[in-house]
Structures are given as structure tokens and as C-alpha cells.
Symmetry: C2
Subunit: 336 residues, 2 copies
DNA sequence: TTGAAAGCGCTAACAT
DNA sequence: ATGTTAGCGCTTTCAA
């Protein structure tokens, strides 16, 4: 059926081995031989068998990528960055979603191992389940975490600054006189939910303002929740003058709810998101947020991973990327 | 280093073959033997080698997925559907982007072949370059196209109805009295750009209204263009009372521009998108659009592909999924 | 510069 | 019910 090295060898009269060497670009082959073999390979439509080659030399050009939800706009940008960098370097990605399940994450790691991937990039679920951490520690291949860190494996993470930006945003609000600020937090199983929330809390503490429980709203980070949570507190009559959201999606829902309730943004209520997803600048009003370089995050993760694949003894070091606050139209920016 | 079948064979005293059969769940093995071997495999932390197994029985559980841009929210939903269905059936996806390049698409196909994938799902670039079509025709493995069709290979496509919905939308506008409707078209290299545009044109023709060239605006389907194109025609003083967009992203940009130019939607201008992406219903005003079942599209494509993998002699048949017009707040819906 | 032989880890065919 | 043997297509010794 399909053409294999042996066919080319027989067709050209050279040995199978010589053919293999030519096609891999091995030195020590006469130009003439090389040309003959290459053109015959072309003519026969030879397609190399990566499985056989991987098996023989235990090298693979495939990277396993674990994400929670590849359709989330944040992750899909990160994954695009990963894919782009992988492709540029001759690697390819095997993509799978955990759907928030730790069991699934463990299965995926095992699956990747089964498929002999060269390395793994993971946007892991945040729980400190020791078995899972151990699973990563036992990996015989390089691995990198993106955007979240796993207890005890911080060196493997490409992070972005969540804390400072979140705190600065809130300090800014406080300086403008806001005291009743709602914070809608993100999913518990993402490490940056906790970090951002801490940024919010610390801003209050550093300014000596009391925090009240009813101003903390929990969400899993989806639009609908921003919408329904604000509807609810409005209905309950909670007073507030600003809403700080774990991410832009939540902020979109918040904006919608405020609009429907005839509250003007930013005049009555200021709103801030986080992530700077693609559509944020095109909202009405455009969303003030924190830019997280998503594509770059993926890119850097992949670059780092490749370094570790090429040099397995390389020490891991945690990398933190800066974020950047972008004040747009959902905040009063007179003082900026 | 890593545990292989032979290690388990030696540790249990059974033959390598028996071990293999137990671990694959082959019948004709005594329960006792099976238990001994399984527990030893667990104990040793055995991880099967999919490469070796694939090589031996030329079966693979990997599907190649080709998309133009996996970070586009439309595609990322489709891909999620693919991945979900794949995972449910024990398959995994190798994902790669063509970045609009035909050359890249050809390379990817070759790469997938090299990696011995079981099948390919492609969101192909739309050009009738005969070499590329031939490339698909020559594929020794099953393949399915999503959302677009390739000349001469229509049976391989999972399509969604673009034409009827687009036409109906426009007929509706015309019935409401609109005569000056801007159409912002999508990228030339997507087959549905052409189909949707035809729907728009036919609506005019069937209602006996003349089409004017300046009402056709070309775009590649991104937000920015919706924004800048409308800014431009407004600047030029073109009169219009409705904007029909190839997709929701464009419509978002349009909305932004209209808003900034103090034009009220839908009072002054009605706006329609297409695709019903996740955020559309949360825009202000929420976007009237056509729902395309993205996740389901991916799901069905994968299901079909699996059928063909399991039964290679199965005839291909084109599948068309219905779309559904959703009138929200960017249109005047009194009459609906 | 080229060739012969061994073997990666597994499964299928055949034997017992 | 279990074992023996061959071989998937390739690359890596080692030899010439």
C-alpha cells in the first residue's frame, strides 16, 4: 500500500539504510546518491512514518496540551500562542480539555505519556490534591504550567502578574472615593482567582477600609453570572458604586445588568474587568480592564518547554509576565 | 527505564503475549491470570506505548484537526465540539492552524499522514486550487469538512444553512421598508461568505429592489473592520437604515461605530449579525443574529468521521444543519 | 561513502 | 488458556 523506505531502496538499488540517511539529511552521502534517492522518493510519493521513527529513536515532535476549556476565549488565545510557537519549531499539539475534572486531568497526563509526547503544557486545575502534584513530579518528560501555579512546582510556571494590577485598580477606585465596591471572584479551582481576590482585599486593608462580606460575590467566571449576580444584589437593594470583576466575561454580564437597570456606567457605577479579551475594547462602553498577554503567554510557555526538551537537565525557573491596566470607558479617568 | 510488557511477563512468569492480551482485554484468559497480571502492571506503573501498538496494528486513536484560526471564537466552539466527541469515543485531537495559507494546509495534511492519524477534520480554506482538492481526494484515510464545502467533495461536508437565513433576514428588513441596507461581507476564502452574500442579493432581487455597489463592503470578518468600515461610510455621507453583517464580530464593530456617531440602534439603524457567538446576547443592545450550532457542528463532524473510520466503505453524505434567526435588540421586532 | 544486522514495544498468527 | 515467532517501518550501531 503505502510507500516505505524499502520501496525506495529497491527502486534505486541503494540500501534501505542509505535511503534513510538521505531522507533525514544525514551527512556523508554523495550529492549524486542523495539526488537520485530524493527524486525517487518524490516520484513515489513517499510519506515518512513518524511512529516508526519515534519508536526507534524515542524522539517525538508532539506536545500534549491540557486546558480546562479550549473554547473559553482566554484559553483559546493562549492555545493559539502555543500552537503558533510549536508549529514554528516543527512541533505539533495534542489538545485536550479537562472540563474542570481532576480525574480527567490525570487521565490526560497518562494518555500523553502513552502517546510518548515530548513534553506537556498544562493549564492545571487548582487543587492541592497531593496525588496530582505527585503525578506531575513523576513525569519523565518536561512540563510547563501556564497562568496558574501548582503548589511545590512553582518553577514550572509561566505566570502573569495578577496581584499588583488587581490591587492597583482597587486602590485607584478607593482614591476616587469609592468605599462600596463589589468584587465578583472567579472559580476556586484557578490559582489566580485567589491571587486577584487577595489583591482586592489588600487594597482595602492598606487603605484602612473595612471589608463587608456582602460585597463579595462568587462566580465561576462566566458572563451569565455577572449578569445574574448584579441583578440579584440590585434586587436586594445593596448599595455600591463600583464593580470589580475577576474577568472581562463577568464584566460583560455586569454591564448588561446595569444597563437594563438604568444605571449609567461609569457615571453611577464604575466597572472593571480583567484579561482584556478581544471584544472588550468594542463593548459599549468599552471596558476598563487589565491586559494579560495571552498569545505571548502561550508562546513563552512553548519556547521554555522546547528549551527543556532540548536540554533535559536545564533548571526550571518561574517566569512572571507583566500585565498592564487599561482604563477605557467603564471608569472615570479624569485623574489618569 | 520505563516498564514494558516484557517486564510484567518476567515478573509474573507468564509470556509476553499473555500479558499483552490481558492488558488489551482480550477474551480467553482465565480470571486468575488476568488479575495477577493486571495487579502487577498497576504495581509496576505500566504505561502502554501507543506508538508501538499503532505501528503493529496500524490503528490510531488520533484525529487531525485543521482550522484557519483556533482562537476565533466561532472555530474554538466548533473545535470544542470536536474534542468533546473525540474524547468521549477514546480519540484525541492533533490541532493545527493554517493561518489562511493554502501551503500550510497542504503541509498539515502531509504531517497528519506522517503521524498516521485515523482521520482528518478540516475547516478548509476556500479556493478551488485543484492540487489541494486532489490532495484531499487522494487521502487514504477518512476526512470531513466543517462549515464550508470544497468543490467536488460536497459529500464530505457538514454544512449549516447560510443561504435561507441570510435571505430571510434581509426580506424581513425589506418588508419593514428598508431599501438602503449595507452588507458587510466576509473573507473570500470561506465558502459561506459567498453563500450568505448570495442570500442577501437574492432577497433584493426577489423583492425587485435595485442593488447599489456602494452598499457592499468587504471585510475579512474581524471586529475592527466593522468599526472602521461604518466609520468610513458615515464619513462619506452614505445613507442607510440597516446593516447586515457576515458575522457577529463585524456587527460588534458596527454597533460601536454607530454608538460613537450617536446613531441609535435599532431606532435609526437596525443591525444584524450571523453566528450567534457567546457574547452576542450580552451586548448592549443585544445582537439580533442567526444561531449556528457551533458545538454541535463539531460534534456531528466527529461522529461522522468515526463512522467512516469504523467502516471505511461507508458512503459519504453531505449533512446540512439548520440555523435559526434570533431577533434581539438590534432590530425592531414589532411584527414578529 | 555505503551496507548489513539488530531492535524499539507491541500484536497477530500460529502453535500447543 | 497460554506460549512462540515474526514483523510493523524506522534508526542506530558496526563493519566494509
Amino acid at each position: 500500500m503505502s510507500i516505505i523506505l524499502k520501496d525506495i531502496a529497491e527502486a534505486t538499488g541503494f540500501s534501505l539504510n542509505t535511503v534513510s540517511r538521505v531522507l533525514r539529511g544525514d551527512k556523508k552521502i554523495s550529492t549524486k546518491t542523495s539526488e537520485i534517492i530524493k527524486s525517487k522518493a518524490d516520484e513515489l510519493g513517499y510519506i515518512p512514518n513518524a511512529l516508526a521513527s519515534s519508536m526507534r529513536n524515542s524522539k517525538s515532535k508532539i506536545i500534549g496540551v491540557i486546558s480546562v476549556d479550549s473554547s473559553n476565549t482566554f484559553f483559546s488565545s493562549v492555545i493559539k500562542g502555543i500552537e503558533y510557537c510549536a508549529s514554528k519549531n516543527g512541533y505539533h499539539i495534542l489538545l485536550a480539555n479537562t472540563e474542570e475534572s481532576t480525574t480527567k486531568e490525570a487521565e490526560l497526563i497518562r494518555m500523553f505519556l502513552t502517546h510518548k509526547v515530548a513534553g506537556i503544557i498544562s493549564i492545571p486545575i487548582f487543587d492541592n490534591c497531593p496525588q496530582r502534584i505527585q503525578m506531575y513530579k513523576n513525569l519523565p518528560i518536561p512540563y510547563i504550567f501556564i497562568g496558574r501555579f501548582v503548589e511545590g512546582l512553582k518553577n514550572h510556571s509561566i505566570l502573569h502578574d495578577d496581584y499588583l494590577s488587581q490591587k492597583e485598580i482597587v486602590c485607584n477606585l478607593i482614591q476616587k472615593g469609592h468605599k462600596k465596591i463589589i468584587y465578583i471572584s472567579g472559580p476556586d479551582n484557578a490559582s489566580n482567582s485567589h491571587i486577584r481576590k487577595k489583591g482586592f482585599i489588600d487594597a482595602f486593608n492598606e487603605n484602612g477600609i473595612k471589608l463587608q462580606n456582602e460585597y463579595f460575590l462568587n462566580s465561576t467566571g462566566h458572563i451569565e453570572e455577572g449578569y445574574s449576580l448584579i441583578n440579584r444584589v440590585l434586587h436586594l437593594g445593596l448599595e455600591f458604586s463600583a464593580v470589580v470583576c475577576f474577568n472581562d466575561l463577568i464584566a460583560m454580564g455586569v454591564l448588561k445588568s446595569l444597563y437594563e437597570n438604568s444605571l449609567k456606567v461609569p457615571k453611577d457605577i464604575e466597572v472593571l474587568g480583567f484579561d482584556n479579551i478581544y471584544s472588550s475594547q468594542f463593548l459599549q462602553p468599552s471596558l476598563s480592564t487589565v491586559d494579560v498577554p495571552k498569545f505571548r503567554l502561550g508562546n513563552i510557555a512553548m519556547e521554555e518547554l522546547i528549551k527543556h526538551i532540548k536540554n533535559p537537565s536545564l533548571e526550571y525557573k518561574s517566569i512572571e509576565i507583566n500585565t498592564r491596566i487599561i482604563y477605557r470607558e467603564t471608569t472615570n479617568n479624569n485623574n489618569n
